[in-house]
C-alpha cells in the first residue's frame, strides 16, 4: 500500500474515533462510528485483505450502525460526556 494513503486514512481514523467518543449527541456518535468503520474498510482493501473489507463494510458499517441507531432511538439520545 502507498504509505501516504495509509498515513492519511490512519489519521482520519484517529480523528473519527475521537469525535465519535467526544460528541454529546449519541445519534451523531453512531453515524461517525459508521464513518470510522468505512475508513477501516478502505484500509483493509488497501492491505489486500478484500474478504475482511467486504465483511467490515457489511457488518461494521451496516449492521453495527443499525444496532446503535435502534438502541439510541429506544433509549435517550443525549449523553453527559
Amino acid at each position: 500500500m502507498i504509505w501516504q494513503f495509509d498515513l492519511i486514512i490512519l489519521v482520519f481514523l484517529v480523528i473519527t474515533a475521537l469525535i465519535s467518543l467526544s460528541v454529546k449527541d449519541l445519534l451523531s456518535a453512531a453515524m461517525i462510528f459508521g464513518v470510522y468503520s468505512f475508513l477501516m474498510c478502505l484500509l483493509w482493501a488497501g492491505m489486500a485483505a478484500v474478504d475482511v473489507a467486504f465483511t467490515e463494510a457489511a457488518v461494521g458499517a451496516g449492521v453495527s450502525a443499525v444496532f446503535l441507531i435502534a438502541t439510541v432511538l429506544r433509549t435517550s439520545r443525549r449523553s453527559s460526556d
Partner: protein, 162 residues
C-alpha cells in the same frame, strides 16, 4: 534522531496502539453506556487491524489465483477446441488434462498477501458485532429498568435502593 527513525519506520503500528488506547480509555472513563460500547468496538477493530497488517507483503496482490496462472498455455487455444475441455469427456481424458496443466501451476508466495490472518480476523469481526449487539440489548434492558443510560445515575439508584 535514531528514536525518530524507529518511530517513523513503523508509524502504522504506533497509530494502531493509539487507536487501541482511545478505545480502552472510552471503556473505562466514559459515563454513557453506549459510549462505552463504541469504545469497545474501537478497541476490537484496532486489534484486528494489527493482525491483518501482519499478513501484508511489499508488492503483493490479493490472495486469489487468476485464470492465466492456473491455465498458462491453455489461454490462447481456449476458443479453438472448446469440446476437449467440456465436462462431458470421459475419465481418461480429464486425467490427461490434469497431467498436462497441474505441473505448470507455479505459484510464488511472495506475489500474494498471507491469507491466514485474514481468515482468523474474519471470525473476530463477526464475534465483535455480536458482542456489540448483546451489549446494546443489555443497555436497553437497563434503560427500561432504571430510566437512564448514564453509569453514575444507575449506580446512584442502585446504592439508594431505587
Amino acid at each position: 534522531m535514531e528514536i525518530f527513525e524507529a518511530i517513523s519506520a513503523k508509524f502504522n503500528f504506533w497509530i494502531y496502539i493509539i487507536i487501541m488506547m482511545i478505545g480502552l480509555y472510552a471503556m473505562i472513563a466514559k459515563n454513557n453506556l453506549i459510549k462505552k460500547l463504541i469504545g469497545m468496538s474501537i478497541f476490537q477493530t484496532a486489534i484486528i487491524l494489527f493482525y491483518v497488517s501482519i499478513g501484508v507483503k511489499d508488492g503483493a496482490s490479493i490472495p486469489i489465483l487468476y485464470h492465466d496462472q492456473v491455465h498458462p498455455e491453455h489461454h490462447d487455444e481456449s476458443h479453438g477446441d472448446h469440446s476437449a475441455h467440456s465436462p462431458s469427456t470421459d475419465g481418461h481424458d480429464s486425467h490427461a488434462a490434469e497431467d498436462r496443466y497441474l505441473p505448470e501451476l507455479v505459484v510464488d508466495g511472495n506475489d500474494f498477501a498471507n491469507p491466514l490472518p485474514h481468515v482468523l480476523m474474519l471470525t473476530a469481526i463477526v464475534v465483535g458485532v455480536s458482542t456489540l449487539g448483546v451489549g446494546l440489548a443489555v443497555t436497553q434492558k437497563v434503560y427500561r429498568e432504571y430510566g437512564s443510560i448514564e453509569e453514575s445515575e444507575i449506580l446512584e439508584m442502585i446504592k439508594s435502593g431505587k
